[in-house]
C-alpha cells in the first residue's frame, strides 16, 4: 500500500516539467512548431531545402565523375551510367596548376618550403600561448625576407620571373603581403588623420578619401597601364610589384578608417593622463592609446583583411593568373571546354575556407582580449 504523503501548504517539492516541454521534443516544440506562423515557416523552409539540397549534393558528389582525361570521357561515363553531375576529373588533372601556377616544376619545393615557413611565422604571431614565442616573433620578422628570396630566387637560387607565379600561391603572396604591408601604413594614416598638424591631416584625409572613392579595379588599371609613365624614363617595373603596391595602398586606406574609429572611441582623459605623466607623443600612442584603440578595431581590421583577400581575385582582369585566372585559361583548352561551374565552385570552396578561418580567428581574439566587465 502506498502511503499518501501529505505536505504542509507551500512545502510540496516542484514536480518535474511535463516530458513534452523538455528534451528533444520540448526543443522542437519551442523552436520549430511554436505557433502557426512558426509551423508555416518550418514547412516552407523544409520544402525549400528539399528543392535545393538533394540536386546540389547529387551534382557535387553522388553523380559527379572524379576520373577521366577529358570532358568527353566524363560525358561518356555519365551517359553510360545515366548520371548528370560535375566533372571533377578536370580539377584533378589541373590541380598542380591551380596550386603553383606556372612556377617551374623543379623549383616547386621552394613554394612548399615558403608555405611552411609562413605557417611557422604565423603561429607565434597569432597565438600568444605559442612555445618560445619571443624567438618565434624574431623569426617572424625575418621570415618575409627569406620567403621573398626563396620565391623570387637569385643569390644562388635559380631566379623565377614573377610572371610564372600563379594559382593559390599567387593569392597567398598578394593577400599576405597586402595584409602585412597595409596594417602599419593604415595605422600611420589613421594617426595622421587625427593629427593636430593641419598639413599632415589634410594630406592623410585627401589620400584616404581618394582611395576609398574609387574601385580597386581602376587602381589596378592605373598600375598596369600608366604607372610606368610616372617613373624615370627607361625604368621597367615588375607587374606583380606594381599590383602589390596598389593593393597595400588600397587596403591601408580602409584600415586607416577602421583604426580611426578605434582611436575616436578612446576617451580624451587617456591622452591627457599620458601627457600629465610626461610621455612624449609616440610614447603615449605606443603605450596607452594604440593598444586600446587596436583592440576595439580588431573585428573591423579582420573584416578589411578578408575583403583584401577576396579582392585578390581582381588581378585576373589585368592578366595575372590567380586560381580563377588559371581556371579560365584551362577552360580555353578544347578538351575541357564548358566546365566553368566546376572551376568556380572549386575556387569558391578555397576562398570560403580561408575567409571563414580568418573570421573565426577574429572571434577568438575578440573573446581573448575582452578584458572589460
Amino acid at each position: 500500500m502506498n502511503e499518501q504523503q501529505t505536505y504542509a501548504p507551500g512545502t510540496h517539492p516542484d514536480l518535474p516539467p511535463p516530458p513534452s516541454m523538455v528534451g528533444f521534443i520540448g526543443w522542437i516544440r519551442e523552436n520549430l512548431l511554436g505557433s502557426t506562423t512558426n509551423i508555416v515557416i518550418t514547412v516552407l523552409t523544409l520544402y525549400f531545402l528539399y528543392l535545393i539540397v538533394p540536386p546540389m549534393l547529387s551534382w557535387l558528389f553522388l553523380n559527379a565523375v572524379f576520373e577521366g582525361a577529358s570532358r568527353d570521357e566524363c560525358r561518356a561515363v555519365m551517359e553510360e551510367t545515366g548520371r548528370k553531375g560535375a566533372c571533377w576529373a578536370f580539377i584533378g588533372q589541373r590541380f598542380e596548376l591551380f596550386v603553383y601556377g606556372f612556377y617551374p616544376e623543379a623549383e616547386r619545393w621552394r613554394v612548399n618550403l615558403s608555405f611552411f615557413m609562413m605557417l611557422a611565422a604565423l603561429y607565434p604571431v597569432l597565438y600568444d600561448t605559442a612555445p618560445y614565442r619571443k624567438q618565434g616573433l624574431y623569426y617572424a620578422m625575418i621570415a618575409p625576407f627569406i620567403i621573398g628570396w626563396l620565391l623570387i630566387g637569385g643569390l644562388g637560387l635559380e631566379p623565377v620571373p614573377t610572371e610564372k607565379f600563379g594559382g593559390f600561391m599567387l593569392t597567398l603572396v598578394i593577400g599576405v603581403t597586402g595584409i602585412v604591408g597595409s596594417l602599419p601604413l593604415g595605422i600611420v594614416l589613421a594617426l595622421g588623420r587625427q593629427s593636430h598638424l593641419p598639413a599632415v591631416r589634410i594630406v592623410c584625409v585627401a589620400f584616404i578619401e581618394f582611395i576609398r572613392g574609387v574601385p580597386l579595379i581602376t587602381l589596378l588599371f592605373v598600375a598596369s597601364t600608366m604607372l610606368n609613365y610616372f617613373l624615370p624614363p627607361g625604368t621597367t617595373f615588375d607587374l606583380l610589384l606594381r599590383v602589390l603596391i596598389m593593393v597595400i595602398l588600397f587596403s591601408a586606406a580602409y584600415i586607416a578608417e577602421v583604426v580611426r574609429g578605434g582611436l575616436q572611441a578612446i576617451p580624451k582623459g587617456q591622452i591627457e593622463a599620458a601627457d600629465a605623466m610626461g610621455l612624449k607623443y609616440w610614447q603615449s600612442m605606443r603605450l596607452i592609446i594604440l593598444p586600446q584603440a587596436l583592440k576595439i578595431s580588431i573585428p573591423g581590421i579582420v573584416n578589411t583583411f578578408i575583403g583584401l583577400y577576396k579582392d585578390t581575385t581582381l588581378v585576373i582582369i589585368i592578366g595575372l593568373l590567380d586560381p580563377l585566372g588559371v581556371g579560365r585559361a584551362s577552360l580555353a583548352d578544347t578538351k575541357w571546354q564548358g566546365l566553368s561551374t566546376e572551376v568556380y565552385v572549386f575556387v569558391a570552396i578555397f576562398f570560403f575556407v580561408s575567409c571563414i578561418s580568418m573570421a573565426r580567428y577574429s572571434l577568438y581574439l575578440e573573446r581573448k582580449l575582452h578584458t572589460g566587465h
Binding site: N31, L32, G34, N38, I41, T42, T45, L46, F48, L49, H196, L197, P198, A199, V200, V203, F210, R212, G213, V214, P215, L216, I217, T218, F221, V222, T225, M226, N228, Y229, F230, L231, P232, P233, I306, K310, D311, T312, T313, L314, I316, I317, L324, G338, S340, T341, Y344, V345, V347, A348, F351, F352, C355, I356, A359
Partner: protein, 394 residues
C-alpha cells in the same frame, strides 16, 4: 618662452613643440610637392619621348566600336565621349537596380536571421556566411556561367509567368510596354496621388496633435498613390500596348531584353551586398534594447505601432551609416562588369576606348574622376539623410 627663442634653430626644432610642428608641416608639404613635381616631370618626359601629348581632343573622334546595351542612341560612328556616357548610364543602371534589390533582399534576410524559428535562422545564417566569404567576382562569374551554360538556347526557351518571361542563354525576354498619349493622364494621376499623400500626412498629424484621433495614414496614402492611377488607367481605356517578343530565326525579336551580362551582374552584386546588409540590419535591430519594446507595450501601444514608432526609427540610426557604405560598395563593385563584358564606364572609356586610342592617362583620369564624383554624391546624400534622423542630444 623668451629663453627658447634664444636657442639655435636646430635646438628649437628638436625640443620646442611649436617650432617642431611648423617644421614637420613644412617638410610634409615640401616632400609632397617634390614628389608631384618628380612624377609630373617624368610623365611629361615620357609622353614626349613617344610623341603623345595630354589632350582630351580624342573624345570627339569616332569610337569605331559597338556596345551591346545602350539606353541612348549610339553606334560605332559616335564619338568616344558618347561611348563614355553610355558607360556611365550602364554603371548607374546596374548600381541603382542593385541598390534596390539588395536592400529588399537584405532587410528580408536580416529579419529572417532574427526569427525564433531555429531552422530558417540556421539556413539564412549558412547562406549569409557562404555569400560573404566568397569573392564577389566569383559570384558574378558563377551566375554568368550558369546563365550562359545551363539555360536553353532561344529556340527552346524556358517560359515563366505564362509566356511573359522567356529565359534563354542570350538574355531574358519580356514584353515591352509601349505608351500611348493617354498615358499622360495616368502619370498626372500618380503625381496628384503623391501630392495628396504628403498633404494628408501633415493633415492627419495636425488632427492627431489636436484631438488624439489616429487616421490610417499608410493605407490611405497607398490608396491615393497606387489605386487612383490604376482607376485612371482603366478609365482612359488601358493606354498601353505590349510588344511581345517573338522567336525569329535563332533569336527573339522585339520585346524588352535583359542581356545575360546585365542580369548576372545585377543578381550577383545584389545577392552579395544583401548578405552584408542582412548582418547590418540584424545588428541594428539587436542594438535596440528589449526594454524599449516592453515600455511601449506598457504604454498600451500596439505591436505594429511599436515597431513603426519605437523600434524602426531607433534601429535606422544604427543601420544607416554602414548601409551607406554598402551602397558605395555596390557602385564601386559594379566596375567588375568588365570581367563578363557588361559595358560600364571601365569597359567603355577605360577599356576599349583606351586600347583603341592609346590615351591611358586621359582615359584613366576620366574614369577615376567619375567614380570619385559618384562616391562623393552618394556619401553626401547619405550624410544628409543621416543628419536628418540623427538623435538630437543636448
Amino acid at each position: 618662452m623668451e629663453a627658447t627663442t634664444q636657442q639655435p634653430l636646430w635646438y628649437r626644432i628638436v625640443y620646442d613643440k611649436e617650432t617642431r610642428s611648423v617644421a614637420i608641416q613644412v617638410l610634409t608639404i615640401a616632400l609632397l610637392f617634390a614628389f608631384f613635381f618628380y612624377i609630373v616631370r617624368n610623365a611629361i618626359v615620357n609622353l614626349e619621348t613617344i610623341g603623345k601629348g595630354y589632350s582630351f581632343s580624342f573624345l570627339w573622334d569616332a569610337s569605331n566600336y559597338d556596345i551591346n546595351q545602350t539606353l541612348i542612341e549610339y553606334d560605332s560612328r559616335s564619338p568616344h565621349w558618347r561611348a563614355a556616357i553610355v558607360g556611365i548610364i550602364n554603371t548607374l543602371l546596374v548600381a541603382v537596380a542593385g541598390i534596390i534589390l539588395s536592400t529588399i533582399v537584405g532587410f528580408l534576410l536580416g529579419v529572417l536571421r532574427l526569427s525564433h524559428n531555429w531552422l530558417i535562422n540556421r539556413v539564412v545564417y549558412v547562406y549569409i556566411e557562404y555569400v560573404r566569404n566568397v569573392p564577389v567576382l566569383l559570384h558574378i562569374l558563377l551566375v554568368h556561367g550558369i546563365i550562359v551554360n545551363t539555360l536553353p538556347v532561344p529556340k527552346n526557351a524556358m517560359m515563366a509567368f505564362d509566356g511573359t518571361l522567356f529565359l534563354t542563354n542570350r538574355g531574358f525576354y519580356t514584353p515591352k510596354p509601349i505608351f500611348e498619349p493617354a498615358m499622360w493622364a495616368v502619370l498626372i494621376a500618380f503625381i496628384i496621388g503623391i501630392a495628396f499623400a504628403i498633404w494628408f500626412r501633415g493633415y492627419a498629424k495636425k488632427i492627431q496633435d489636436a484631438t488624439g484621433k489616429i487616421y490610417p495614414v499608410l493605407l490611405i496614402s497607398l490608396g491615393a498613390i497606387i489605386l487612383f492611377p490604376i482607376i485612371v488607367f482603366f478609365l482612359a481605356g488601358m493606354p498601353i500596348n505590349l510588344d511581345y517578343p517573338e522567336l525569329a530565326g535563332f533569336n527573339f525579336k522585339g520585346g524588352l531584353v535583359l542581356r545575360p551580362e546585365f542580369v548576372a551582374l545585377w543578381i550577383a552584386l545584389s545577392l552579395y551586398t544583401a548578405a552584408f546588409i542582412a548582418e547590418i540590419v540584424r545588428a541594428g535591430i539587436q542594438a535596440i534594447s528589449h526594454g524599449q519594446t516592453e515600455a511601449a507595450f506598457a504604454l498600451g501601444i500596439t505591436p505594429g505601432r511599436t515597431m513603426q514608432l519605437v523600434i524602426i526609427p531607433q534601429a535606422l540610426r544604427v543601420i544607416i551609416p554602414p548601409l551607406s557604405s554598402q551602397y558605395l560598395n555596390i557602385t564601386k563593385n559594379s566596375s567588375l562588369a568588365i570581367a563578363i563584358g557588361y559595358m560600364d564606364i571601365v569597359a567603355t572609356i577605360g577599356g576599349i576606348s583606351l586600347n583603341q586610342t592609346g590615351r591611358e592617362m586621359e582615359c584613366m583620369t576620366i574614369v577615376l574622376a567619375l567614380y570619385l564624383s559618384f562616391s562623393l554624391l552618394i556619401s553626401a546624400f547619405m550624410n544628409w539623410y543621416n543628419k536628418r534622423i540623427k538623435l538630437v542630444e543636448r
